[in-house]
Symmetry: none
Subunit: 197 residues, 4 copies
Amino acid sequence: MFFKMTKNQIERKLKILKAAIASFANSGFHLSDIGAIAKTAGVGKGAIYRYFSNKEELFFESVKFCTDEMYDFISAKLENTDPDQFVETLFDAHKDYYSENKETYLFVTKALIEMPERMVSLFHTIHAQKMQNICRKLEENAEKGKIRQGIDTKVLVKMIDVVSNLFFLTDEISPEADNYDAVKKTVTTVFNSGILK
Amino acid sequence: MFFKMTKNQIERKLKILKAAIASFANSGFHLSDIGAIAKTAGVGKGAIYRYFSNKEELFFESVKFCTDEMYDFISAKLENTDPDQFVETLFDAHKDYYSENKETYLFVTKALIEMPERMVSLFHTIHAQKMQNICRKLEENAEKGKIRQGIDTKVLVKMIDVVSNLFFLTDEISPEADNYDAVKKTVTTVFNSGILK
Amino acid sequence: MFFKMTKNQIERKLKILKAAIASFANSGFHLSDIGAIAKTAGVGKGAIYRYFSNKEELFFESVKFCTDEMYDFISAKLENTDPDQFVETLFDAHKDYYSENKETYLFVTKALIEMPERMVSLFHTIHAQKMQNICRKLEENAEKGKIRQGIDTKVLVKMIDVVSNLFFLTDEISPEADNYDAVKKTVTTVFNSGILK
Amino acid sequence: MFFKMTKNQIERKLKILKAAIASFANSGFHLSDIGAIAKTAGVGKGAIYRYFSNKEELFFESVKFCTDEMYDFISAKLENTDPDQFVETLFDAHKDYYSENKETYLFVTKALIEMPERMVSLFHTIHAQKMQNICRKLEENAEKGKIRQGIDTKVLVKMIDVVSNLFFLTDEISPEADNYDAVKKTVTTVFNSGILK
DNA sequence: TATGAATGAGTATTCATTCAT
DNA sequence: GATGAATGAATACTCATTCAT
């Protein structure tokens, strides 16, 4: 699937990818129909097989594309954040991305479950790479005594991620999400100050 | 699917359910084969359609069965727990259930994603019902000043749940899971005392 | 594909086989459509896959069925033949079978070419087995001095077979076949008495 | 497909034909891939459609090319043969051509079966034309009393052809072929002197 | 009542042919 | 003229569901 592409072909491939993402996000892998994706993309079925070796590959590339985009967005938001704003900022970053890219957001999370074999390592690779800088800064702050000792920053970031996920997946997943402010308050309080007095 | 069942029929239905759970947990909804489930259960394909109206219903009932069982187990472990042991106990409850019921544990979590439509409300219903007592106790402790104000206990419990999930799904989902102790320390520290000093 | 069949199922399988033979004989392997064969046989597509594991197997069984039938017919005709009638009788046997089973006759011959891998050894096995008695008798006659020495009977029988084939395949294959009597005279003369005076 | 071709174009067309023959001979009509043939020939797919109107035409021309070549070879070998050497010489001619052009030899024979519609009349045309001289000589010899009366020479030549075919197709088609000498002895004996004493 | 044989809708993928570059 | 990217018709096979036995 690697050959030098003209500008037109790059656009073509992108159209296919967009159509595939929409379909996979809505219907999942098994219920998505290559023919329908082709129609949506405005290309022939054959074109899909020119750019992607098979349905699974198309799915994989779709996930990759979305995951990349999403964590670029999230890590950008975290660039210059004080430690005491970190939880809130990360939570809000999820919220913001979700608001504008509901489909993609859900897709990334679902993909991990639907096709665990390859997706999982893809996800961790991308996540680790994109969040690398963020983790480094957290560690600097730990050294400066600004955040509590004994916290593994990689684990921490993933915790906040997954909790945020929970509540944005949540239109679907969690009824509490309706009350966004209450949820956010709980999350930031717990993460910043802990449960115990 | 509702008729008075003899003891024999109840056993029959249970055998089908067990076989279905095993298949759905391993292969997911779409790749599971009704014929194969029937064979595993030691019944004819027709029998499945006597007890369950269709494949989706069978899936739904399978998830319900597992979710029930799992949260019975978890809530039992939390019965008489001090607030300062709460996070650790809940985390350990996940760990314990997971250790003995890996298949079921993963199935419950995946099911939410694979078939969101009906599963989600099922899950929240069961979760809310089983964790009701637990939440009530947490609230009592909050009133007594033992845990921090401003925390919605339902949200809190689900946060801990999902974080625990994250790291037990993690054979598959998260590389950090290998180092169980480090993960647990981070989780309990963050939840108990917060990130910030 | 081997299970105890009821009388009904045996009929069913036979209907499929007949439809398959008709299609393969007319259109060859690649142009034959499983769906169309099912329709002709008056069964669902699925039924074909119950009785035959795949298209290739169906083809194989079709050829086997026809080859069996054809050489049963031919060898029966040769049962009590004098050596000086042998060539003519064998030639006529081909002619007779062909007249009543044109489709099958052509199919057997074509199959050898279309799917050489397995067909060829099948053909030789069946041919050797069915013609065994015929060859033995020829050899007895050779010992009694009634037919010329130095002739390998197996080779001889196949020669006559293939020459007969040539002229019955011939509606399609050979224009000479139109004049059946002339062809037959040449064939019997050559085989019985040779070319040279 | 008829236009004045430059020397370059003639070479181009020939390269395509050679590649097509190789592919058709090995894989048959249906399994041969135009794209692969183009690649082997070192031209674009489009070029094939410049020189041949479609796949069937390409197959037809491939067969024609090979049949021409083969019967040129065979008839040349028979140029100055005594009648009593005729059978052996023709048989050997097949053998010789086969030895040096196994692929082509098999292709010509198979093609008749695979695409009977047009191939058959092509074959008979070429065969009749190339063997014309040979048949005439046989007839002269018949008139001179050197060969038996009542033999249609066209039928005879085809008989010998097809029998030879049988045993050279036979790497694949006939187990007897292993013992070449025994086969040849039987064939020449039968054709020259007949079966009966 | 239980069985599993039969049904046929549904789908990924290939490949001859066309045509823009 | 030559190329090879794009097209989309064509097709074997699976599997949820039904229903005769």
